[in-house]
Amino acid sequence: MTEHATRHTPPEGPPGDGDVLLVTDLSRRFGDLIAVDGVSFRVGRGETYGLLGPNGAGKTTTISMVAGLIEADAGTVTVKGHRMGPARVEPKRHIGLVPQELAIYPELTARENLTFFGRLQGMSGTTLASRVEDVLDVIGLSDRAKDPTKEFSGGMKRRLNIGIGLLHEPELLILDEPTVGVDPQSRNSILESVESLSTAGMAVLYTTHYMEEAERLCDRIGIIDSGLLQAEGTRDELIRLTGDVDHIRLDGSGDTVAAEAALLALPAVEQVDRERHTLHLAVHDAPTAIAEIVTEATSAGMRLNDVQITRPNLESVFLRLTGKALRD
């Protein structure tokens, strides 16, 4: 199958200038369990790379090695050309980690938490103070800056958790499932800030088990399961990998029989099924073909009431690749 072609593909060529993060053949086991198994990928400036996988896939373990929290059994992590590891300090200057758990002090205020981690990042004085205020503003917590974080809602804590990772304006931002347990509104604001950071040139490594997030945010996505990177590419590349086509559903009245024949003649249309007043089409690249399809059906004498496009998503890709659903 085609997916094997992209499996285990090491990043091609020598690390280019655009590479902020380069991960090569990374492995880690816990006892008998192989949590991460030969994972390789690269993230460039301004690029958002998503690791999409179900619970226990090995996302956090991968990230822990990327952030230099735990030792890799094999393989290397390079950040801005510096080898990463628990004992290395230099590459850590360039990363901002947003852990999956809320790594903030409950007794301390939002401002104190930010200041604490800012100091550990080597910031001080007015630089630190003004950065803290900026970040409080960005995460929308300026008016709650003086409250202890144990009084915060889940979404506010999540936002602070992310703010701490942004404080020192790292070149690589690592987010481990930053939207888990967050209301839709907070979630949207989190996704928006990641988008704007990426636009500003930050490299982002983003793990999630929500395929909508991966689709929306990530320039490239690695699908990970059982510690293996099953496939990697842009969203469209991944979908093409599975050979799935888009589906269009036309509801209406009039001459649906003539419409069926006319549509079948179009090159983009693979297949048409008619069911009373409804036509089901299998189509290549529905967004492009839709205008032509609507015109053709109308001129054949069909009056359209409703048009629906369904595209294959990463969920179906994941199902194809691993034989299981992304969420159980």
């Binding site: 956090t60 822990s64 952030a67 230099g68 929290l69 735990i70 030792e71 628990p86 004992a87 300090v89 230099e90 850590k92 200057r93 990363i95 980690l97 852990p99 999956q100 758990e101 809320l102 790594a103 903030i104 002090y105 409950p106 007794e107 301390l108 104190e112 604490f116 981690f117 100091r119 550990l120 990042q121 080597g122 001080s124 202890p148 701490i164």
Partner: protein, 391 residues
């Protein structure tokens, strides 16, 4: 060094921020010092004598003797004094019958009535009264002897007294002191009523509060804060050192608070502040090491808090934190010295009661420093392991 201070300062700040600490850290230790002080302390310390009855030379002489011995003396009517004794407001009531002053002046025998109170202190104060009266008696005996010897050479009582006073001014008079020959009482004599309780409560609380504080370390591990700190450009050593230093700061803070508060509120004498401060620093390091070890080995905060308080109480009890080590049997006292408390207790006792110098307490400081080093090394090692495990 900056990251170490950042982590340590944050730990101290978290400790002070926790409201539930206020009672246990600031109020409870002082309450215990107060309770223990009123129960145990006081032997040999300044007592109170109330004198009733005829005033005059005898009453003045006794009063002067007692005041010299550090006892507070007041006077009052017969019933008033009896009432004070029965209410425990004074330790001993002394009643001087009518004519006693005149009898004293003319060398006649005098009978005085003494009514001791029921508090433990009263016996000692009664002894002091006996001593004072005894000293006066000795004085009188000397005058009598002089008169008897020199009566035929025209020496009368007043000449003898003048001569004796002149002699006394030149030679140090043999003062009569009532000394308890009991070793334990001797050890504690001169100790303020709160002094003993204060040093043992300091040790108990510094260690206990440190161990109970290991929960914040577990919390920082569980919440991934330590892991996150390790993703910043600081070394693992700096983070761990900061955690240890933070715990040390908490221990020393607690101890310094008890020292200052008991000195101000109860007049506790801590001896040379440099030396007692040094004992606190070293004992605080032992406590910090134990807290690191507990916080690294245990994963459950509630359990760690329980274990911490248990260990803290047992070690304090064994190490003289509840009952003074001097009352222990020799065997038990040897056993007690497995605890850091016992060594620190000895050092405090030496500083408070015997004006010990740095050299005198070097053995205690050495043992405590060794304990601190071992515990801190073990604690840091265990924490490093637990951090690698938890991610």
């Amino acid at each position: 060094m900056r990251p170490v201070i950042t982590v340590a300062a944050t730990e101290l700040r978290r400790f002070l921020r926790d409201r539930s600490n206020i009672f246990f850290v600031f109020i409870f230790p002082l309450l215990l010092v107060l309770v223990l002080g009123s129960q145990f302390g006081g032997s040999g310390s300044s007592g109170r004598v109330s004198i009733a009855g005829e005033s005059g030379p005898l009453e003045q002489a006794i009063s002067a003797q007692l005041t010299d011995a550090g006892i507070t003396v007041d006077t009052g009517g017969h019933d008033e004094v009896l009432d004070r004794v029965s209410r425990g407001r004074t330790d001993v009531g002394l009643f001087i019958p009518a004519g006693a002053n005149a009898a004293y002046g003319s060398d006649e025998p005098v009978r005085l009535e003494v009514v001791p109170g029921s508090q433990s202190n009263a016996i000692a104060v009664q002894q002091q009264v006996r001593g004072a009266v005894g000293a006066l008696d000795l004085d009188r005996a000397r005058v009598r002897a002089l008169v008897a010897e020199g009566g035929d050479r025209g020496v009368d009582a007043s000449t003898a007294r003048t001569a004796l006073a002149a002699v006394d001014a030149q030679v140090t008079p043999p003062s009569l002191r009532i000394e308890d020959v009991d070793e334990i009482a001797q050890e504690f004599s001169g100790l303020g009523r709160f002094d003993l309780g204060a040093s043992s409560q300091l040790l108990l609380f510094v260690f206990l509060i440190s161990l109970a504080g290991s929960t914040t370390l577990i919390q920082a591990r569980r919440l991934g804060i330590i892991a996150r700190a390790l993703s910043t450009p600081v070394s693992t050593g700096q983070v761990l050192l900061g955690e240890a230093a933070g715990r040390w700061a908490i221990a020393v803070f607690q101890g310094a608070y008890i020292m200052i508060a008991t000195a101000l509120l109860f007049g506790v004498r801590w001896g040379d502040p440099f030396l007692s401060g040094l004992v606190l620093l070293v004992f605080g390091a032992v406590s910090a090491g134990a807290a690191m070890l507990l916080g690294a080995l245990m994963d459950n905060e509630a359990a760690a808090s329980g274990v911490g308080i248990g260990i803290g109480l047992v070690l304090a009890g064994l190490g003289g934190g509840m009952v003074p080590l001097e009352i222990f049997t020799d065997t038990l006292r040897t056993v007690a010295h497995v605890t850091p408390h016992a060594w620190a207790y000895d050092a405090f006792a030496a500083i408070q009661r015997h004006h010990a110098s740095l050299v005198d307490i070097l053995p205690e400081l050495g043992v405590l420093a060794a304990m601190a080093l071992v515990l801190l090394a073990l604690g840091t090692w265990a924490l490093r392991r637990s951090v690698a495990r938890a991610m």
